[in-house]
C-alpha cells in the first residue's frame, strides 16, 4: 500500500515543482537554522568544557582580606592577613590534595632585545600539580628552590614564543625587574581561561624569589592568595568549611569578628559558566525552532490548497474504492515527503554554513549526529502534525460532492 503511494506522492510533488520547492524552502530554512544554532551552542559548550578542564578540578582559592587599622579597611588581597604558615596549616587538613600559596602580578620581561609584559606568579611546585599543568620542555622547580629563593623560572608557551621565538628557552636567562632568571622549563599549552585571558602568557617562579626580587612585599612570609585543591568534588564543601575554621582560629578572630579573608570556589564558578552556555544553546535552539514551526505552517497552507485543487481527483479515487484512510495517508505522505526533503536539504545547508562560520570566524562549532537525528525526527513530526489537518479534510470529503466539484 505504501509503495505505490510513495510514487504517487512523488508525482504530485513533481506536478507543481516551483510550489513544492518554495514550500520546502520553509523547512530548509527552519532545519538549517536549528542545525546552525545547535552547532554554535554546542560549540560554545564544548569550548567552555575545554577551558574548565584546563583550569584543574576541585579548586578553591583563599584571598587575603581586608584588615582594619584605626578604622580604615583595606580592600581584599590588600592586607597581610594570609601567610605561608596558613598555607602549610591548610595542607595538613583532611581532604586536601594540594596547597599553593601564590603572589602574582603583571611585570615586564626582557630577553636580549625582546621585551614582553606578562603575568608573573610566585608560588610553590604544588601549584602546577593543582592545575594539572605539565612541563613539555625542561623541568619545573622544586621545594628547595622555594626555600633558597633561587632565580629560576618556568615559562608559558606564549612567553616562550614572544620572547624566544625559534630559540629553545631552556637554559636561557630572562630578566624580570632587572633580576636575571634562568629558564628551566616550558609549560604545556592551556589556551584561554573563562575570562578570556591567555593562560599561557605566564611566568612561574618560586614564591620566595617573587616576594624578594619581583614584588618586594613589605611583610615577608605573607601571601595574597592560597590555591587549594580538594581530593574530590564531594570533599570541596567540607574542606572549605575546615579551611575557614582553621584560618579563623589561626588569625585569632573572635566570634563576632568578620573573616579577614575571602574564599572563592573556582570549580563552582566554572560550573555556573557551563550552565550559562547550556542555557544559551537551548535558547538558540528554541528560537531557531520557531522557524521550523513557520516552515510547518507553510506545508499546511500548501496542503490545504492542494486538497482544494484536487477535490475532483479525490472524488474519483473514492468512486473507484479509496477508503478514507487511503486518502488520509496519501496526503499525509505527501506532507511528510516535502518535510523530509526540506529537512535533508536544510541539514546539508546548515552543516555547510556551520562549517563556513568555523572557517571564517574561528568560532568552535560542534555538529553532532544526535542533532541531525533530532532534526529529522522533528521534520517528520512537523510533516505529520501540519499535514494532518489538510489530509483529514481530504479524507472526510463526500464522494459525490467531491466528484461534482469543478
Amino acid at each position: 500500500m505504501i509503495r505505490p503511494m510513495l510514487g504517487e506522492a512523488w508525482l504530485a510533488m513533481g506536478a507543481n515543482r516551483l510550489r513544492t520547492a518554495l514550500t520546502m524552502l520553509g523547512m530548509v530554512i527552519g532545519v538549517g537554522a536549528v542545525v546552525i544554532m545547535l552547532a554554535i551552542g554546542q560549540g560554545a559548550q564544548y569550548a567552555v568544557q575545554q577551558t574548565i578542564s584546563t583550569m584543574g578540578s576541585n579548586l578553591f582559592i583563599v584571598l587575603a582580606g581586608s584588615f582594619t587599622t584605626s578604622g580604615v579597611r583595606s580592600g581584599s588581597g590588600g592586607g597581610p592577613t594570609l601567610t605561608v604558615g596558613d598555607a602549610e596549616a591548610i595542607a595538613e587538613l583532611d581532604g586536601v590534595a594540594n596547597v599553593a600559596p601564590t603572589h602574582q602580578g603583571s611585570r615586564q620581561l626582557v630577553y636580549g632585545a625582546q621585551n614582553w609584559s606578562s603575568q608573573v606568579i610566585g608560588t610553590t611546585p604544588a601549584y602546577l600539580d593543582a592545575r594539572a599543568w605539565s612541563i613539555v620542555n625542561g623541568a619545573g622547580f622544586g621545594d628547595s628552590d622555594v626555600r633558597s629563593a633561587t632565580r629560576v623560572a618556568v615559562i608559558g608557551k606564549t612567553v616562550a614564543e614572544n620572547l624566544f621565538g625559534d630559540e629553545d628557552p631552556v637554559g636561557k636567562t630572562l630578566r624580570i625587574q632587572q633580576s636575571p632568571f634562568l629558564v628551566v622549563g616550558v609549560l604545556g599549552a592551556k589556551g584561554q581561561n573563562l575570562d578570556g585571558r591567555d593562560q599561557d602568557d605566564t611566568v612561574i617562579i618560586p614564591l620566595s624569589t617573587a616576594q624578594r626580587k619581583v614584588f618586594g612585599t613589605p611583610f615577608l612570609g605573607s601571601v595574597r592568595m592560597i590555591m587549594v585543591q580538594a581530593d574530590s568534588a564531594e570533599a570541596m564543601e567540607r574542606t572549605m568549611a575546615a579551611t575557614t575554621a582553621l584560618l579563623r582560629q589561626r588569625h585569632r578572630l573572635r566570634e563576632d569578628m568578620p573573616d579577614d579573608f575571602f574564599m572563592r570556589n573556582l570549580s563552582a564558578a566554572a560550573e555556573s559558566e557551563a550552565a550559562t552556555t547550556r542555557t544559551m544553546s537551548i535558547l538558540l535552539g528554541a528560537i531557531a525552532s520557531i522557524s521550523l514551526v513557520v516552515g510547518g505552517i507553510g506545508i499546511m497552507n500548501i496542503m490545504l490548497v492542494s486538497v482544494t485543487e484536487r477535490t475532483r481527483e479525490i472524488g474519483i479515487r473514492m468512486a473507484i474504492g479509496a477508503r478514507q484512510r487511503d486518502i488520509l495517508s496519501q496526503f499525509l505522505l505527501e506532507a511528510v515527503m516535502i518535510s523530509f526533503a526540506g529537512c535533508l536539504l536544510g541539514l546539508l545547508l546548515g552543516i555547510a554554513i556551520a562549517l563556513a562560520i568555523n572557517l571564517f570566524t574561528g568560532m568552535v562549532v560542534v555538529i553532532s549526529g544526535t542533532a541531525a537525528l533530532l532534526a529529522f525526527a522533528v521534520a517528520a513530526g512537523v510533516g505529520i502534525f501540519f499535514g494532518w489537518y489538510p489530509a483529514q479534510k481530504a479524507a472526510r470529503l463526500d464522494p459525490i460532492e467531491a466528484l461534482r466539484y469543478q
Binding site: 475532483r312 481527483e313 479515487r317 468512486a319 473507484i320 466528484l403
Partner: protein
C-alpha cells in the same frame, strides 16, 4: 427475486436548494437481476443521475431502501461502501474521469491499489484489460494523448479491473460522436455477454436499443419499464 443484484424500494432523494427542499427522486421501486442489461432513459432533470449515484454508493438516499448483492446499503459504514465501490461495482462517467497525471496503465490499475493487490499482478491485470478494450499499445501514455472514445474505453477497463458483477454507466456516450458511441456500446454488449450486469443512462433511443430492458424516468418516478422490442 433471490438473485437480484440490485433491489430498491421506495427510494427517494431530496436536495437542499436555496428555494427549499427539492425532491429529485420520489419513491422508486426496481429490481435488477444478475446478467441484465438495462438502459435508463428520461428527459433532463428527471433524476437519472441522482438514481445512478445512489446505485453506485456515491450518495445516500433520503428515503427508502437499497439492497446491493443482497446487502442493505444503509447498514454499511463508509469503509464498507468504499469496498463495494471497489469490488462489487464499476462506475463509468460521462466525462471519463481519468487521473491526468497517470499513465493509462496506472489509471486502470488504481482500483487494484486500493484492493491491496501487489504490483506485478496490478500491472498484468491492467495490461489484460487495456488489451481487452483495444488500447494495449497506449499503456504508458497519458490520458490527454488519446481521443475521447479511447479515454472512455480506458475508463471502462478501469471499471472492470476488479472483476465487478455490475457496471453502472451515466451517459457513457454523452461526450462521444455516433461512431465511437457504437464502439463503446459494442464493448458493453460483449461484457454483458460475459455475464456482467449493466445499467446505463442515455438520452438517445438508438443507444438504448442495445440494452435488453428499458426503464423510463419522469420527475423522479419510473413511468415505464419494458423489454427492448416489446411495446411500452
Amino acid at each position: 427475486m433471490a438473485d437480484a443484484v440490485i433491489r430498491v424500494a421506495g427510494l427517494g432523494k431530496s436536495y437542499q436548494t436555496a428555494a427549499g427542499e427539492f425532491p429529485a427522486l420520489r419513491g422508486v421501486d426496481l429490481a435488477i437481476a444478475a446478467g441484465e442489461y438495462i438502459a435508463i432513459m428520461g428527459p433532463s432533470g428527471s433524476g437519472k443521475s441522482t438514481f445512478m449515484n445512489l446505485l453506485g454508493c456515491l450518495d445516500t438516499p433520503s428515503a427508502g431502501d437499497y439492497w446491493l448483492a443482497g446487502e442493505n446499503v444503509a447498514t454499511l459504514d463508509k469503509d464498507a461502501l468504499a469496498v463495494l465501490r471497489n469490488r462489487t461495482l464499476g462506475f463509468v462517467f460521462q466525462g471519463f474521469n481519468l487521473l491526468p497525471r497517470m499513465s493509462l496503465q496506472d489509471n486502470v490499475a488504481l482500483p487494484l491499489v486500493y484492493a491491496g493487490v501487489d504490483k506485478a499482478t496490478r500491472r498484468a491485470r491492467a495490461r489484460v484489460l487495456l488489451e481487452r478494450v483495444g488500447l494495449g499499445k497506449y499503456a504508458e501514455s497519458l490520458p490527454n494523448r488519446i481521443s475521447g472514445g479511447q479515454q472512455q474505453r480506458v475508463a471502462i477497463a478501469r471499471a472492470l479491473v476488479n472483476a465487478p458483477r455490475l457496471i453502472l454507466a451515466d451517459e457513457p456516450t454523452g461526450n462521444l460522436d455516433s461512431h465511437t458511441s457504437e464502439e463503446i456500446m459494442r464493448l458493453f454488449g460483449e461484457l454483458n455477454g460475459d455475464g456482467i450486469t449493466i445499467v446505463l443512462v442515455t438520452h438517445e433511443p438508438d443507444i438504448a436499443e442495445h440494452a435488453k430492458r428499458q426503464v423510463r424516468f419522469l420527475d423522479g418516478r419510473i413511468i415505464s419499464d419494458h423489454l427492448t422490442g416489446a411495446a411500452p
